[in-house]
Amino acid sequence: MDAIRLISLSPLLIVAATSVAVLLAIAIRRNHAVAFGLTLAGLAASFCSTFFTPPSQVTQLLLIDRYALFFMGLLTAASFSITLSAYGYLAAREGNKEEFYVLLLVATLGAMALAASGHFASLFLGIEILSVALYGLIAYLRERPLPLEAGIKYLVLAGSSSAFLAFGIALVYADLGALDFAKVAQLLAAQRSMNLELLLPGTVLILTGIGFKLALAPFHMWTPDVYEGAPTPVTAFVATVSKGGMFALLLRYFSQSGANRFPRLLLVLSIIAIASMLAGNLLALFSSNVKRILAYSSIAHMGYLLVALEASSRLGTNAVAFYLVAYFAMTLGAFGVVTVLSSAQRDADQLDDYRGLFWRRPVLALVFTAMLLSLAGIPLTAGFLAKFYIVAAGVASQAWLLILILVITSTIGLFYYLRVVTALYQQPVSDVQVPEPLPRRAPGLSLVLAVLTVLLVWFGVYPTPLLRMIQSAISSIL
């Protein structure tokens, strides 16, 4: 392995090294601030390195191309902001805090590996690294009942879905004899007589594994419970980094392997997309738990993304990438607000916690409003353009049914976002118990929220630079 390849791996290596460094730091002396600082530094370095890293293929397993670097940058940036928001959150809670960062770094590493993976083996490994770290993260506050319950649920379900994935890969491998995406693509393109009885169920099983991670219906049922139970920064991580890495992989696999050659697979994807849009939006309608609402909404968002994915055109890929960026910004922002409002005893997940927030903390309420409206796809926010591109991709591929369902369900979805927004602006009722805000002001988190809001509006009004980046990134997989 030559030096260039090693340098190419630097984003991954930096994150991995940081996790080791944090471990060592803990071994020397437990200090929350040190662990936090190391993590931030590592993630920042990794983020910066994505801009300077020369694209190259590192073994069959990892493809460090512009596409991968783009998503690695996105993932590290997201982890960075999650780290910032987690600091204050953890500081107010019991138990050792430092290992949290180790787990976070490892999970990020797994997601990054997914973004760069061009091979089923790295896919499987990435998922496992991500999952195992996530079990720990979700159940990190192990003295509390909800995180523990969520952790066990996630463990069992993710474990079984990994088994589905592994079995699926095995079937595909049995049929094609290749694990490398490029090879798979070649074989599929070669129109070699294929044993569809193995290939198609195998692909569906792979989709099951991926769909589980992405919380696509009908593999979505864990989502609200895990979102609710996990500590809020971890929820944000599950919603963004974990899904982002996974979707980056799916997009790459889908556009490289030429799986869209099979109308039946497209049909399956359509069914999944429709089911996700319907389930996500309908389940959230009258829920009174904000974290669960966001969970359901993420199901729907993944459904929207599939619509663009299915278009499988440059436009569709573009739309997916743009949507993911916007989705990251708004989801992180939304969970950031939840984090800010959470007390040491419990997370601010009840709708009642938000009633009249505008009259108590107007800026925070405005930020949350911006995030929610962006999730709903309203202009001046990135979410609007993101949805616009999704619809554009759908229209371009003339997937009228999908688009129609998207439109209808996103209107239904608007209802629950508005329920939350309405609660924010309700005139305060004195006898409602509101949780104490964090004891210490969280400057880091405020900064994150401010930056995210600015980004949200910036991408919503002038997305041209971002689009340019995305175009150069996706050109490497098309």
Partner: protein, 621 residues
């Protein structure tokens, strides 16, 4: 001088605006209101004199004030058109208005809505003058709706009583039914002839349509709808009797002298069109003849002094329609003029009577007022005679005689029309003297509480003079109108008796009516009572009293269904659909959230089932 024409409607407009926007003391209100109408009538007289002494070569003069709008071929102007017909209308309207305003300054003295009253009245005069002077049908329509509005406002002037408001709304809505027909008529004319300018329309109609063409008939009939509504003719006459809820000067001005004759003016103005549409003209005849008889019969049964006069107005306007229908155009306009004088006077007299009796309206509670109210009695008597057609002396006799003769001898006349008009004369005479005998003769039943002052007497005296003198200008009148509305008596063949014979017979019938009234309502009231209480009499009485039950019919046919629809539809049935959709979503949510049971093994089952179903899809679909 002719250039001052625009001031004729403008001055009342301005004063209406002043009165509406400013709070002024009563004196100032009275002065402004009356003087503005006085100024307007003086200017109209000056303009007319100028017109008479120095007639324009085209026979009419047009004053364009400004271009209203110009859209795709529709270019109405705010322009005034002066020709003999509009001169007569203008002068009569302005002058009668002036007198009634003068009367009202005293009549309304105790009312707290003094300023408002005169603002409405001035606005009315302005609109009425606009109506008669309008150069195009759209401007005419503006005036037309404007007078309808003022009528509504003034009927409901005493707004505290909800009944008055109801009467006002009824008047507005019923006349608007006609107006809707009229406006559709305008659409038709514009579509076919491409303009709304009246003169241009008439020229094009005459050149492009042949007599009896369907379009011409349709247009004429639609416009007739408007005329029928405004002029309270069958079948839209029901609003007028209720309109008597307004103050008496209003009834005199709007519901007797001026506005209700707007329909007559409209048809006379568009007579070229009606000449092209014999069927429509026949409809005018039918409307006129039927209304004059029905109105007369209803007037015979009323107890309320003002309602008697209201039905009398309906009946008299029916005469005018009859004249229009048969083609005796100037006769209609002449009757309009004399009717304006005597009917206004009758109302003013009635106002004095009612006010002097503290608002008593029932003629059966009156009586013997001859002595306490001499001026009112004599002027009322003059006007009544004029209405009933006392021959040789009164103006009404001349105008009505002309119409009768026209009904027989004019182009569309027939002996049957003449006979029915003659029956009308009998009825008119009968109800008029019934009223006079009951009110002024016999024993006094109610004490006179109040005696009128000069401001109320002077208009009555002037109008009484005009109710007599107006008749003697018949031939100059006909001559003056002839360039616009020509009339050639005796042009018909087969006339078997002369105008003199007709007049003689009319006079006899008048006397018969007078005598019957004398018998039934002065000498032997028990005869009348016996007649009314006989079984047929009772039915007929009730039938006529209730205006031929048309109110009842309309209530069942139109009012109730609309109110019913409104009541049942209040909550917007369409909304139910959307509520249903929302409810469906909620139910779906309820069902689906059951799947989120929190149970681990159920979730695993979900994943497994999903996966299996999808495999089934790829394998077997």
């Amino acid at each position: 001088m002719l250039r001052l024409l625009w001031l004729v409607p403008a001055i009342p407009f301005a004063s209406a605006l002043t009165l509406a926007t400013m709070r002024l003391p009563r004196k100032a209100v009275a002065w402004i209101a009356t003087c503005s109408i006085a100024a307007s009538s003086v200017i109209s007289l000056l303009v007319s004199i100028q017109f008479l002494t120095n007639p324009p070569s085209t026979g009419a003069c047009i004053q364009v004030l400004w271009k209203w709008f110009d859209v795709d071929g529709l270019r109405p102007e705010i322009a005034l058109y002066l020709d003999p017909l509009s001169i007569i209308m203008m002068v009569v309207v302005a002058f009668v208005s002036f007198l009634i305003h003068l009367y009202a300054t005293e009549f309304m003295r105790g009312d707290d809505g003094y300023g408002r009253f005169f603002a409405y009245m001035n606005l009315f005069v302005a609109c009425m003058l606009t109506l008669v002077l309008a150069n195009n049908l759209l401007l005419l329509y503006l005036g037309w709706e404007g007078v309808g509005l003022c009528s509504y406002l003034l009927i409901g002037f005493w707004y505290r009583d909800a009944e008055n408001g109801r009467a006002g709304r009824k008047a507005f809505i019923v006349t608007r039914v006609g107006d809707t027909a009229m406006v559709i008529g305008l659409f038709l004319l514009f579509r076919q002839l491409g303009t709304l300018n009246i003169q241009e329309l008439m020229r094009r109609a005459a050149s492009e349509w042949h007599a009896g063409s369907v379009v011409a008939t349709a247009a004429a009939l639609l416009l007739l709808g408007g005329a029928v509504g405004k002029s309270a003719q069958l079948p839209l006459q029901t609003w007028l009797p209720d309109a008597m809820a307004g103050p008496t000067p209003v009834s005199a001005l709007i519901h007797a002298a001026t506005m209700v004759t707007a329909g007559v003016y409209l048809i006379a103005r568009l007579h070229v069109l009606y000449a092209l549409a014999p069927q429509a003209q026949f409809a005018v005849i039918v409307v006129g003849a039927a209304t004059l008889l029905m109105g007369g019969l209803s007037a015979l049964t009323q107890h309320d002094l003002k309602r008697v006069l209201a039905y009398s107005t309906i009946s008299q306007v029916g005469y005018m329609f009859l004249a229009l229908g048969v083609g005796a155009w100037p006769a209609a306009i002449f009757h309009f003029m004399t009717h304006a004088f005597f009917k206004a006077l009758l109302f003013l007299g009635a106002g004095i009577v009612i006010e002097s009796l503290n608002g008593e309206h029932d003629i059966f509670h009156m009586g013997g007022l001859r002595k306490p109210l001499p001026v009112a009695f004599w002027t009322f008597l003059v006007a009544g005679c004029s209405l009933a057609g006392l021959p040789l002396i009164t103006a009404g006799a001349f105008s009505k005689g002309w119409i009768l003769w026209g009904a027989y001898s004019a182009a569309n006349g027939s002996v049957w029309l003449w006979a029915s008009a003659l029956a009308g004369v009998f009825l008119t005479s009968l109800y008029t003297f019934r009223m006079i005998f009951l009110v002024f003769f016999g024993e006094q039943r109610t004490q006179v509480a109040h005696r009128p002052g000069h401001a109320m007497h002077i208009p009555c005296i002037i109008l009484a003079f005009l109710s007599i003198a107006g008749g003697y200008i018949k031939s100059p009148f006909a001559h003056f109108l002839s360039p616009v509305l020509s009339w050639s008596p005796g042009a018909m063949q087969g006339v078997s008796f002369s105008e003199t014979v007709s007049e003689g017979i009319t006079a006899l019938i008048f006397l018969l009516g007078l005598y019957s009234a004398y018998i039934f309502f002065l000498r032997r009231r028990d005869y009348a009572a016996a007649l009314a209480s006989s079984s047929t009499g009772r039915v007929l009485h009730r039938f006529w009293f209730s205006d031929w039950a048309m109110d009842w019919l309309y209530d069942r046919l139109f009012v109730r269904p609309v109110v019913w629809a409104a009541k049942t539809g209040k909550d917007d049935a369409i909304d139910g659909f959307y509520t249903g959709v929302a409810r469906l979503n909620e139910l779906t949510w309820r069902g689906m959230s059951r799947t989120q049971s929190g149970r681990l093994r159920w979730y695993v089952a979900g994943i497994a089932a999903g996966s299996i179903v999808l495999i089934a899809v790829v394998m077997f679909l």
